[in-house]
């Protein structure tokens, strides 16, 4: 159950009074203003809102890529807003899977090697890493494309590889920043189908930023961000 009133306890992701301000020259930009959020394990949340409303900033803060000006973010009991940059990096490796709009695969690595990247940070053996990669490549339907380079794949296939990379280390939750933003309708539907399956069949927790109402429709909850304030959709 997703809540934005800050009155829930024991949720997987707990955001309290989150503030984020940027200084641009002499101007201070107040991106997020006292935001509260509770997300349970297995939830699928979509964030919508106009450009510049703070969606990506919120995602960056939840993923430990940026630090809040004030307020707290707690994930599975760890208050990440209090972690050092170094600890935040290793926390990210264990807990967060990122899916980007532009896929962001490493072009000189094969699909297999791209997916294997997060596992290089674990103590898994080469054989174990191979088994994990093969499993997730099977899951995203690209078992026969493992030795292909990103340039040899379609946009939809690239995004599937990116999803495989995001889930291969079995993170606590997934953050998706407009995962269908660069895809045609058919490919976008396939990607959303896949994310649906990850949530409903594999119990993954997903927080997604999107402009696409059809993508948002698949989420358990749709939250609107406007001028730094989070509003639950009806």
């Amino acid at each position: 159950m997703v809540r934005v009133d800050g009155k829930s306890n024991g949720s997987l992701i707990q955001v309290r009074n989150l503030d984020k301000r940027y200084q641009r020259g002499s101007e201070e930009i107040h991106v997020l203003q006292g935001l509260n959020l509770d997300v349970e394990a297995g939830d699928f949340v979509a964030f919508m809102g106009p450009s510049g409303s703070g969606k990506t900033t919120l995602l960056n803060l939840l993923g430990g890529l940026d630090v809040p000006t004030s307020g707290s973010i707690t994930v599975a009991g760890d208050e990440i807003s209090a972690l050092s940059a170094q600890k935040l990096t290793s926390w990210r490796a264990r807990h967060v899977g990122f899916i980007f709009q532009m896929y962001n695969l490493i072009p000189v690595l094969t699909a297999f090697q791209n997916v294997e990247l997060p596992l290089l940070l674990t103590k898994l053996s080469k054989a174990e890493r191979k088994r994990h990669v093969e499993t997730v490549m099977e899951l995203v339907g690209l078992a026969d494309r493992m030795q292909h380079f990103p340039r040899q794949l379609s946009g939809g296939q690239e995004q599937r590889v990116a999803i495989a990379r995001a889930i291969v280390a079995d993170p606590t939750f997934l953050l998706a920043d407009e995962p269908t933003g660069d895809l045609d309708r058919r490919a976008a539907d396939e990607i959303m189908e896949l994310i649906d399956r990850l949530v409903n069949e594999h119990g993954k927790t997903v927080l997604m930023v999107t402009h696409d109402p059809r993508a948002a429709d698949r989420a358990h909850a749709v939250l609107h961000l406007d001028k730094g304030v989070l509003i639950e959709a009806a």
Partner: protein, 379 residues
């Protein structure tokens, strides 16, 4: 090892650029290796000079002789263990281009004085028994095809006429850098058949001291002994004598250091530029690596490792090329032995790694400091 695929893939990203950078290292290190070989060729006499040997020459100059009678007087001095002498002959074989150093030596003591030159006993005995015999260095023998028993005519330039010698022995150096181009024959042969002006005279003496720590004192005692005579002496350690001899040809060391310095500095700029471009092109990828959980230090190490691997590939190929070229130089410049000393090989590879590290430092630092949020925003 598990990160090797990532490192290797990055190196293959821009094959032409990487190959050209490796090529610039190859050329630079090859040049370094050749310069080191030239340096070694000129200074090999200095490097291998004995610490327990002194060279006694005429105080006026090396080309002025000393009396043969000094031998006994030198042997009487405290701290002198052995004495031998040699005289520069300065002949040519067939024509002027075929030059190699010929010395008229004192047969009995010369071999003991220079044990680094290995000569089989039977060959030495054959040389000692033949007044017209000669001992040829292995390099010279190889170059002109001299074999034991060959009769070799040498045209004198100082001592006029054609002098016939029988090759009785071939010597080999026992250490890297030993000069194998010399040609020795009996001083007695020169004494008997040479002009009257050189009778009873020698070119220089080599003195072995009992204790190398007292070499300076013994040298001073020698010069004091012959002070105010018709033939005053100048005594130097063999190393200093060899170094002074090389310096007559100019400051080769400074020349080599200057060229080497310019080459390495240029290389530093080339590699730094390559690495900076490479990092700039990969901003988003580096951000993705950090997003996935790779640390700032990992990214720093990865960029540095790429820079060093590029440098090392070119550097190793370059020094290997120099090693391959050195024998060709020896053939092209008779009378000199070119080789790249092991220490210079190690130093070259070390310098390569250093240049790779320094060149990669600034790009690696900026990659490490890259903020993920800023970098992803640029995508």
């Amino acid at each position: 090892m598990k990160y090797f695929a990532l490192l290797w893939a990055n190196l293959k990203r821009k094959k032409i650029r990487t190959t050209l950078t490796i090529g610039s290292f190859l050329i630079a290190l090859m040049l370094y290796g050749v310069l080191a070989a030239v340096h070694a060729a000129f200074y090999q006499g200095v490097e291998v000079a004995g610490t327990d040997r002194l060279v006694v020459i005429n105080r006026v100059s090396l080309i002025q002789p000393l009396p043969l009678s000094y031998r006994e007087r030198l042997l009487q001095l405290d701290g002198v263990k052995a004495v031998t002498h040699a005289s520069w002959f300065g002949g040519v074989y067939q024509d002027e281009r075929n030059f190699f150093p010929q010395f008229a030596i004192e047969t009995e003591s010369y071999r003991q004085m220079f044990p680094e030159f290995a000569i089989p006993d039977d060959q030495w005995a054959a040389f000692a028994a033949d007044r017209q015999g000669c001992v040829v260095g292995a390099a010279t023998a190889r170059r002109y095809g001299f074999k034991l028993g060959d009769r070799v005519p040498i045209k004198g330039t100082i001592f006029q006429g054609t002098w016939e010698f029988n090759v009785r022995a071939i010597y080999r150096g026992t250490r890297q850098g030993d000069d194998e181009t010399q040609y020795w024959f009996h001083k007695k042969y020169l004494e008997e058949n040479g002009p009257a002006f050189f009778r009873g005279l020698v070119g220089w003496y080599t003195v072995k001291v009992s204790n190398p720590d007292q070499a300076t004192a013994v040298g001073k005692a020698i010069d004091d002994r012959f002070a105010n005579s018709s033939y005053e002496t100048k005594t130097e350690p063999e190393k200093a004598f060899a170094a002074a001899f090389v310096k007559q040809m100019g400051n080769i060391e400074l020349l080599i250091l200057t060229i080497g310095g310019v080459v390495f500095f240029t290389l530093l700029l080339v590699t730094a530029n390559t690495m900076a471009t490479s990092v700039r092109e990969r901003t988003s990828e580096l951000a993705v690596l950090k997003t996935v959980g790779f640390s700032d230090l990992f990214v720093l190490g990865m960029v540095l490792a790429e820079s060093v691997v590029i440098a090392l590939q070119g550097g190793l190929l370059g020094v290997l090329a120099a090693v391959a070229i050195a024998p060709g130089l020896s053939q092209a410049m008779p009378g000199m032995t070119f080789f790249v000393p092991t220490w210079d090989l190690v130093l070259g590879v070390g310098l390569t790694v250093l240049v790779g590290l320094v060149a990669g430092l600034v790009p690696a630092w900026s990659a490490m400091r890259l903020r993920v949020v800023d970098a992803l925003r640029r995508v």
